[in-house]
Amino acid sequence: MSILIYAESAEGKFKKVAFELASYAKKVAESLGTTVTALTVNTGDVSELAKYGVDKVLKVNNDKLAGFTAKAYADVIKQAAEKEGTKVVLLSSTTDSIYLSSLVAVALNAGFASNVVGLPVSTSPFQVKRNAFSNKAFNITEISTDVKVLGLAKNSYGIFESAGSATEEDFNPSIGDNDFGVKVESVEKVSGKVSIADADIVVSGGRGLKGPENWGMIEDLAAVLGAATACSKPVSDLGWRPHSEHVGQTGKPVATNLYIAIGISGAIQHIAGINSSKVKVVINNDPEAPFFKVADYGVVGDAFTIVPQLIEKLKAFKAQHS
């Protein structure tokens, strides 16, 4: 009966989303009068999950699952859900979890709601609130199947600790060869930099920066804040920055705590991609730039004088608060 979460890890360590998912699951479990079981795959120490409300950990350790294969992972989650008699499966919104979630839903004959924000609106009937229309609206979705799969939108709930302990159990699902129709040949990850997906803060630059040679201050600002760097579509189209940094509707979605837009006017397609960020700051010399309409804080002025000053002031601030 317990709620099942798939607690994602990378290189043996939990991703932050695993703790957000556990925190969320704990609250949902309380309202349904049940407990939380977390499934882990090739994670080393799983004890940390107990801090966020997990009651039981199903540990899968299998060399076949060393690389991420959506079908195999979905199969493992399905078997764990069946073993636990789970009625609610909770998944996160990382690229990998989005990839496998529809497969899990179909395998369990479950109704699936993705992009869920906040706790269920009601548990009987089971209704959840979801982001829709590129964050311009919410959609209340009712799930009427016996088993339900929810995909929690990134950074939409938060991480909350709760006292408790978790039991651990080894789990050996059967993994067939037909789970490996798609093979990973190679993985390229940018090392030594915070990725946009994992970042709490994103510093993003637009065409207002005039050229790629001026990106040093964007990177410096990001470094002071421990932030990831990003850019608007025109900047990636012009080749000033790699496509992997393009955020917006056709680029990467951003849902961080703080998004700082520098020299970005705020085209509607850009806003659509970054709008679920909690706090937005804009620095732009054009007070009419549309970004000011969606931002929480704004500075009207020349980025080339403001950003270097901001870096110095933040360094002083960080030195004082560390």
């Binding site: 690229t95 529809s102 829709a132 990725s195 997906a197 509707q249 002031k313």
Partner: protein, 248 residues
């Protein structure tokens, strides 16, 4: 190679989003519709396979007669034929079920769908089709080449990319990168003329269980106005981010 490109008919990003009938329905009044951008990248890549490797390209949409302009546009861009499953899409699974039926009956080798649509942003249809059919599946696909039955592809992952190998039949959830924005095809006059004579087949839907339904829509609370900070007083910005917003 037979390619099926799944096309969503979605409100243009600049559309005002409103709801009617007690906030239970999307208000289509004055809304401009376009081919879903993620699908457009896939369509252009499919046309590339048609021109370079002799593939045939069918486009499909699940929707009412009002969605036909998007299918006609896809035909004008170069698709060989179109199929419309005549039903009002109720949820992702319903759509996936209809598309799976079309794929089964049509014997398609490669199915390209967008990784998500701009309207409901569910991002679930391509994976559900693969789940129903048991085919190979690749999501967030940014590049694909096909040689015989062998496929090489690239998938975007958080913080990087992954190169993968797989084989047909295959379902992909595609996005920007399959082709670049500057290479997207737009219909020319000849394309528009020939599109009129291409086949647009209308199929009736198959039964599918109602797993989920949208019961209500809400709009976010109006945002408070931006707080402007003078460029001469950046300490105030840091103070606000630290003490008020609590994000640094």
């Amino acid at each position: 190679m037979k390619i099926l490109v799944c096309i969503s008919h979605v409100p243009d990003t600049t559309s005002k989003i409103n709801f009617s009938n007690g906030d239970s329905e999307f208000d289509t009044n004055g809304v401009q519709y376009v081919i879903n951008p993620n699908d457009e990248f896939g369509l252009t890549r499919a046309i590339w396979f048609q021109e370079q490797q002799g593939a045939t390209v069918t486009v499909v949409n699940v929707g009412g007669p009002d969605t036909e302009p998007s299918l006609r546009k896809a035909l004008a861009i170069g698709a060989n034929e179109a199929i419309r499953v005549n039903a009002n899409p109720t949820d992702g699974f319903f759509v996936a079920k209809q598309l799976a039926e079309v794929i089964k009956n049509g014997g398609y080798d490669l199915v390209i769908a967008g990784k998500e649509s701009l309207d409901y942003n569910g991002g679930m249809v391509p994976g559900m089709i693969a789940g129903i059919l048991g085919s190979n599946f690749l999501n967030s696909c940014t590049a694909i080449t096909v040689d015989g039955n062998n496929v090489k592809a690239v998938r975007e992952i958080d913080g990087g990319k992954e190169t993968l190998s797989t084989s047909l039949p295959l379902i992909i959830g595609g996005q920007k990168g399959l082709v670049e924005e500057k290479d997207l095809r737009i219909p020319n006059m000849r394309g528009i003329m020939t599109a009129r004579t291409k086949a647009l087949t209308i199929l009736e839907p198959v039964d599918a269980p109602v797993n989920t339904k949208a019961v209500k829509f809400e709009k976010p609370a109006p945002k408070s106005a931006v707080k402007l900070v003078s460029p001469d007083n950046l300490d105030e910005l840091i103070n606000l981010l630290h003490n008020e917003a609590k994000v640094i």
